[in-house]
Structure formats: C-alpha cells, structure tokens
C-alpha cells in the first residue's frame, strides 16, 4: 500500500478529479499514477492478450504499463501526466476481445466499462 510523505501538501493547491468514477482530491503537480496509487486504484490496464490486471512498473515513462484512459483518450501514460481539475481517469480495458460491434448505439467508454464489469478489477 502506498502512502504519501508529501509534507508540503497543504502548501499546494488541490484539484478534484475522478479515478474510475471515484472522486479524488490531489495536490497540483502530482502525477496521475501517484493519485491512482494513493487512491488504491493501482490497476492501470488489462493486458490485451490474457486480460490480466497490470500496474505501473517503471514510473518514468519507459515501460508503458501505466497506460490509462484520461478524459476518454486511451493509452495515456499515467506516470507522465499531472492531475488537472475535472480530469476523468479510468483504468484501460482494451483487450483483443473488446468490441464495439455488438451495437452501434454504445460509446467507446460505455463499452469499455461494460467489459470492465465482466472482467473484474473495476472499483468505485
């Protein structure tokens, strides 16, 4: 379990964002990955072939394990982005079986959340 030693947190202004639908407050300048880790939402994505939960590995932009969906855009590296007011972060659930072809009425994020419920690992 991660915890913060951010002694200067009170000096930084706070922003509100959602992580997998859960409201989270984080200090400005914090990385999205750090906000996720502190919120206990450490599953960044599902692996595309075997549909297993994955989490950040290098935290410095190299491994691409922390790809999440930010404001509807998938494949964003959580460790390279900083939190912003109103940001919506979701664990990425695009696997080789994710399909938008069952119905033309649903949006990509609908489909992804539906899949997430089937696969598990969805919180909040």
């Amino acid at each position: 379990m991660f915890r913060s030693l951010n002694d200067k947190q009170s000096q930084r202004s706070l922003v509100n964002l959602t992580i997998n639908g859960m409201l989270v407050t984080a200090p400005q300048g914090q990385t999205v990955w750090a906000a996720m880790a502190l919120a206990g939402e450490t599953t960044t994505r599902l692996s595309p072939v075997t549909f297993k939960a994955r989490s950040a590995y290098c935290a410095m932009g190299v491994c691409f394990e922390c790809m999440v969906e930010i404001n509807g855009m998938p494949n964003q590296q959580a460790c390279l982005f900083e939190v912003k007011e109103g940001m919506a972060v979701r664990s990425q659930k695009i696997t080789e079986q994710t399909s938008l072809l069952t119905s033309s009425e649903i949006t990509p994020s609908d489909a992804i959340s539906m899949l997430a419920e089937n696969v598990g690992g969805h919180h909040g």
Binding site: P48, P74, N75, I94, Q97, S104, I112
Partner: protein, 375 residues
Amino acid sequence: MTAIRKSDVLVIGGGIQGSSTAYHLAQRGISVVVLEKDTVSRHASGVNAGGIRLLGRNIAEVELSKAAMHMWHQLDDELDADTGFRARSLINVAADEADLNTLRSREQQMHGLGYFHEVMLDQQELRERLPHVADHCVGGVVSEQDGYAIPFHSTQAFRIAAERKGALFCEGEQVQQIRKVGDSWLVSTATQQYQAEHLVNCAGAWADLISVMIGDNVPMSYSAPMLMITARMPHFATPVVGAVSRPLSFKQFENGTVLIGGGAKGFADRANNTTRLDYSLLASGAHNAIEFFPIMKTACINRMWSGLEAYMPDNLPVIGKSVRSENAYHAFAFSAHGFQLGPVIGQVMTDLISEGSSRFDLDPFKINRYERKVL
C-alpha cells in the same frame, strides 16, 4: 575458391514474388536457387499493408487477381502454414454523389466484361457492414472475397514450403555481375558464383538494376509508401476499408490494432536500405481516417514506417519474358499492389519457364511497353 553452384533456375529477390516462384518451380521438380541481398521478406514483402484486394483492380489485372484470390483462400492448407489470411471483404466508401457516379460507371464497365465480384452498397447496407462509418458517407462498393494477410508470415510460408520441396535460399547474397555464356546464366556475388539455365528477376525496388544487367532497359522508379499502425482499439470494423476518391485505406486486425495506409509516399534511399517519412502526408491520411470514422479520434499511433517499392509509370507491373535475352523473365514493379498477386505470379513464372507460355494475357505487362520508334 568455392565451387560454382548450379541449378535449373536462379531467382533474384527473396520477396513474395521470388519465394512464390521458387515454391511453384520446386513443386514441379525444377531445381531453383533464390538469391536475396538482405534477408527474405526484408523489404516491401515483409512490411506492406497486407491487403488481399480484388476490388478496383485495373482491368488488365483482373484475371490474374481473381486466380490469385482463389489461391489465397486455400493457401494455408496448400503451404501447410499460417499466412495470416482472413477473408473479411473490402469496402470502398463513397463520400458523396460524385463517388457514387464513379462507382456506377465502374459497375457498368465490369458487368459489360462479365465481372460481377464488385457489388454496390447503398447507405443503409454500408452502415450495416460498417456501423461506425461517418454519417455523411452515402454508400460504397464491396468485394466479398477480399481481406488481408500478414505479409511477413505469408512470404515466410512460401519460403519454408519451397525449401521443403528442395529450393535453396541464399541470404546476404547481392548480385554483382550477370553474364550469359552459351546457354548458361552466370551470376556472381561477392563470395559465390551461380549458374542456371533460366533467370528470374523478382528484385523489387532494385529490379531495374538487374534488368539492365540482363539487357532490358525499363523506366522503373522506386518510392516509399508509408504506413502507420495504432495501439489496440476496441473492434469497430471487420471489413478492410478504402475510399472511392480519397487516399484512405485501413484494416483492423484480430488483435485490435489498426493499420492505416492509403498510398502516400515518403522518401526512399535504396542505396542505404532506408526511407524517410513525410509527416504532412501522413497527417492528411490521419485526417481522412478520422473524417470517415470518427471513432479513430481515440486512436494512438504506435509505429510509422515505409518499405521500398518499385513503380512503373502506368502503375502496372512488369510480368513476362525478357525481350533481349532468352531464358530470362521478369516479375517486378507491382506498384504497391503486388502482394495479393504473389501466389499466382509464381505459377505464371513457372509456366513461362517450363512450358514457354502462360494462360494469362501478359501483353499489358511487357517490359518494353514504353519503347517507341523514333521517327
């Protein structure tokens, strides 16, 4: 000094055309050696978009393409390998009334010639097949047998099947000199001499150099058609997609990645085996993809590349016998649409070598079709 290596046929170029030719020759018990200057399927045959397309072919190519398509549908069994071929149909999308008019006149022409494999789609049919196509698209045309294959796997499949039947592939062997002595072709590389009765030029973007050594001049050019592939996306398009009047072409593979092409060319440096990309052209390809499929806004590009490909001024390949030398044959300059033809080209070359003729009309593909009498 190493001994000269003899075979009935020497194929220059280890791409899909050369590998398919080797396969068909070996199957008929003809001994064959393939010389490849780099590695098999290193260039266009390994890195192209993998489109298996009969739709929209130049009339001159339709018979060849139909025969090739028939072969693709049984190729995995024939070669006992996984070429990655998937019949998914190919749809060219019409964006407006002008596009539909283009399709109607094409339909009339094709029907007149007795070809019925291209079928027009109205707006509703288009939407049923491509639920995520943009609202403004009015219709299209489909070819049901079309699809895609994995180029590297397909070329390797031919190579491995050919080797099983006795063909020999020599990689890292760049041709330095070609001589005709008596009835024999003598070909030398830096380290080895080869001798054969028949010589086949399948050298892709380097085929004009081989042609000159054989004795045929050819107005071939080469370029670097560019491709990009996305990170995995949710499945949104089963058919391969093109557009009637725009440079757009993409396919979503079973693993979810989307390959975007469209024919835009980068800059080729064939002496150094490298290419440079033209990002503003790729940008307009990206723009078209999003305009036709708004869901592509969420696409992220993972890799961009281009291969080295040969072109003729009329965008038709050179297929057939040499005009200046006996027992020499060409199959090159497929102008970025030769991958689908690969299986049949090997058969054509084998027919030319073993029987002296092909059942196909190869007149439009003659190497000397640009030669004119000077008055």
